[in-house]
Structures are given as structure tokens and as C-alpha cells.
Subunit: 292 residues, 2 copies
């Protein structure tokens, strides 16, 4: 029996992206919405799946991301790094209703622990799609940025930085709130922030300087957001001592990609843009093929 | 004419402490409340002063802290470091109603900028009171921790760390919210946090590990708050490369003093506890004497 189309879902905390994909991996239809797990009432996932099928087609669903967390629908326990697409497919959770949930990946190192859900499909799919070599360093910024080290086509090690979340918290609450509403773009204030944040051990002191500089007139209030973003992204990229002189495969788009590309260049590395949607779809298609 | 008693006020963002002090510096009465500047409607400061006088005595008022900020009553422009009590007294702002507002201190260094309001009176008063030598490193934890370097009895340099604020933001909002409600005390989880945070350049990654360790069962959920606090305080104290082998004069009390003392010992320094109320009163009394 020939397998037909399926729906691939990147089901995150805040956003959801779904594609109808045919058996050769071609995208037939898609939708994006804000039906992330935080917006879905427990118990209503079957209806969400039915809605997706009504929109895209009555076919099997393959979902990755926070949908498989304890905050999502069904817990799909983490597989341990080093992790391949085959390992993800092997440990995917199949629900009765023709829904397969892909597990996340856990790092259990002697002095470090970390977890991811969703980024693993992108990272490994990028290799499958030929967008990234099997030995590479990936950077996947967002609310939480994932640094993923691929070795021999598998996820060997990774680290999560809370860069985007910290910026959002500081902008919304606390002493810097009201100072960080300006436009954030690559430019002189952002690069001054990179210089202050990259390699800094005193991040929380650097952040307070945003306020001090504005109060003392050393920096324009309009520039404070870009300066603060530069500090945070500089600290994120600059904390790594393994990037100088290397290619960093950057799975991001839009303004955030520009900011990280600038930071990556600042520390002497080269950012190579990768289409994260294409990477995700390639990864999911491989998992779908392995799940026959 | 002999000068009589006065009211000394440490008027902060959240809290307010006021003492009735006689001409020899002895405390006659005091009150503490939560009438910090954030809780006071602009325009109602005259009534607040009248209330304080009704409670403590109809005498001159000497106030320091956020009362002198743009968020407070009257802007008392910062004096630049290096700063002495004489400089603070010289630039204090005298209002018509027998109220004197002590300015804060600004640091304008080539690559750093910082500000303080309130801590300067404590730091310099600690020297006046003989609690701290004229050349010393002070640590004043709170929502924002101030590291103050005294040289020749003056505030030479200082740095603010947002340690307490970051912990509060993470506990109340974002991905770690709900994980950080446990008790924070010095102990094995806190010290594991110190080890992770001290000297770390990847603070935001260390913080995400709190979540990962709990999810993976590497650390008990009840210990997460102490571990996270240890990371933050460890990063705060461990960012300094000038503390090992030194005395660090710690102006704090209660549980927070215990945590910082532990962190200071962890990096090879010695915490010397200093009574911050006594330090503030000594500083304000000197300013009062200089303001005759």
C-alpha cells in the first residue's frame, strides 16, 4: 500500500506551524497560527487535531515541539544525546488517532543538563536536506536560543540560552521597563552592546548600565533597547569559546537573524543562514519515512 | 543657637525607614514602612513629610535614596565619584519646608557608567562610624547589589548587579516561574549553584539548566530555587577578580547576608558583617553636621 500525504506540525509554546506534505516531501498546503500549547486547554487536543485536518486534509499527523511535553498533550519522553533522526523516529509516541509525537532530546552530561523539543527536528533535518554538514555548530535563536553541536550527523551536545526571554522580562517588568521599547536593529548602539556583553562575566551589571547610561546622558534613551539587546546577544554568542574562525549555521529569519549574524561576526565567526522551515520539513519527512 | 533633633530618612523604591535623631546622633524614635517612592502619588510628598513629623517630631528632615530621583520628589543631581560625605553635604538640595535631600553618586568611567542613591550614605557612614576602613570593598545586596570600592575614605568606583531583580523576575514570569518558590537557604543546592555560577560567562544558559535538571530528575524540584539563587549570587560575586583573599564588608542582614557570606567565602574572600542601619545613621549625622 502506498502511503499518502501527512500533516507535519511544529507545535511550540506560543506558535504552531502546520504543513500538508505529500509522500515525496513536497508541501501542498500550510497554515501558521498562535495555537501554541499555552493557548490550548488540556483535553481539547483531539478537537485541535480535527480542526487541523479539516483545514489541511484528513491524513496522519506528525507533530514535534512542546506538544510532547508535560505542558502539552502527551508526554513523549526525551531521548538522550547523541541523537539521530532514526532515534527520534524509534521513540516517537503513536497515539490512537493517527497522531505521532516526536520526542525531544536530553543532554545528561556530568556537569550539565539540558533539554530541547522541536529544535532537534530542524537541526537533524538541516543535515538531511544538505543545508548543513554532519559536523557543525548550529545557532537557533528565539525566546530560548539553542546552540547545537552536530557530530557525524547526530546531535552530540547542546546548550540553551534564555537570551530572548531575559530581554522580554526586562522590557516588561522591573527597573529597565519603559526604557527598552525602542527599535532593536543592527547598528552602532547594538554593536556597543555586543562589545560590552561579549565574554562578560558580569551580565547583570552590564544590564544595569543600560539604565545608568541613559540617566547620565551617556546614551540616548531611544538607543537603550538596541544596546541592551546587544549586551544580551553578545553575552550569548560571546560565552562560547569554540566559535572564532568557524562557520555558525544560523537557523533564524528576519531581524533576529540579522542581530545574531552581527554578533557571530563580532566574535570572529561566520554566520551561514539556513532556512529553518526547510530544515524542519526535511527532518519530519525523514521521521515519517522511518515510521512506515 | 543650638541645633536640635532631626529626622533621617532612607527613602527607597519600596521601603522607607525614618529615625528621629538628636544632636549627638542618638536615635530617639524610629519607624519603618512601605511608603517607598513607588507607592507615593506625585504631589503628595508634602503630606508625607507632615505625616512623618507628626509621628516623629516637628524637626528638619534629611532624606537620601530614591526620593531624590526623577521618580521621587525633587531631583537631587548625582555627584560624581570619587565622592565623600562632604561632597554629598555640599550638593544636598534644601527645600523650603526644612527638608534636605542628599544626592546620589554617579560613576562616569571611560567604559562604564553607574549610579546609586542611598547606598552612598551607608558606605561612607560605615567609615565614619569606624565599621569599615577607608580603603575597602563593600557589598550591599538587595534588589540591586552595589559593590563599592572605597579609597581614602571616598567612594572611588562601584558596580551595580541586578541579582535580586533577576531572581524576582524569573520567579514571577517566564519558563522558570512556578519552579522557584522553594526555600532559599545556604546549603548543598545553593552551593551547587555557586559552583555553576561563579565566574560563568554563560549565566543565561546556567539558569535554563535549573529547568532542565528538574525535568530530567537530576535535581529535586524543591531545591530549584536555592540552586537558581546560588547561580545568580555566584555569578554576582564570582564576576569580580579582586575579592580573593580580601575582606568584603557586607552591609546586609538576615538570610540574604548568609547567602552572600557563603558566596564570598566560596570565592576565597572573607565576609565582614556591617550593621547597615548604624552605617546609614552615621553617614546622615555627618551630613547633618556638615549642613549647619
Amino acid at each position: 500500500m502506498t502511503r499518502g500525504a501527512y500533516i507535519a506540525v511544529d507545535w511550540g509554546t506560543t506558535n504552531r506551524r502546520a504543513w500538508l506534505v505529500d509522500a515525496r516531501g513536497a508541501v501542498l498546503d500550510q497554515r501558521r497560527d498562535e495555537r501554541g500549547v499555552l493557548s490550548i486547554v488540556p483535553g481539547s487536543y483531539p478537537r485541535e487535531i480535527a480542526d487541523l485536518r479539516r483545514a489541511l486534509g484528513d491524513v496522519p499527523v506528525f507533530a514535534a515541539g512542546m506538544i510532547g511535553s508535560t505542558r502539552g498533550w502527551h508526554d513523549a519522553p526525551y531521548v538522550d544525546a547523541p541523537a539521530s533522526l532514526a532515534l527520534l523516529a524509534e521513540h516517537a509516541v503513536r497515539l490512537d488517532a493517527g497522531v505521532t509525537i516526536v520526542p525531544g532530546v536530553a543532554l545528561r552530561a556530568p556537569h550539565r543538563a539540558d533539554v530541547m523539543r522541536g529544535e532537534e527536528v530542524q537541526a537533524l533535518g538541516a543535515v538531511t536536506a544538505g543545508l548543513v554538514p554532519g559536523d557543525a555548530l548550529l545557532c537557533q535563536p528565539g525566546t530560548h536560543n539553542k546552540w547545537i553541536e552536530l557530530s557525524d550527523g547526530r546531535i552530540a551536545r547542546f546548550a540553551t540560552t534564555m537570551t530572548g526571554e531575559l530581554f522580554a522580562l526586562l522590557r516588561a517588568h522591573g527597573i529597565l521597563a519603559g526604557m527598552l521599547d525602542g527599535t532593536v536593529r543592527d547598528g552602532t548602539p547594538f554593536r556597543a552592546g555586543l562589545a560590552r556583553g561579549a565574554g562578560a562575566r558580569d551580565l547583570s551589571s552590564a544590564l544595569f548600565e543600560v539604565r545608568a547610561r541613559v540617566l547620565l546622558g551617556v546614551r540616548a534613551a531611544d538607543d537603550a533597547a538596541a544596546f541592551a539587546s546587544g549586551i544580551l546577544i553578545g553575552a550569548d554568542v560571546g560565552a562560547r569559546d569554540d566559535v572564532a574562525g568557524r562557520d555558525v549555521y544560523l537557523l533564524a529569519s528576519g531581524g533576529l537573524a540579522d542581530l545574531y549574524a552581527s554578533a557571530i561576526a563580532f566574535v570572529g565567526a561566520r554566520a551561514v543562514p539556513v532556512d529553518s522551515d526547510a530544515a524542519f520539513l526535511a527532518g519530519m519527512h525523514a521521521i515519517w519515512e522511518l515510521s512506515a
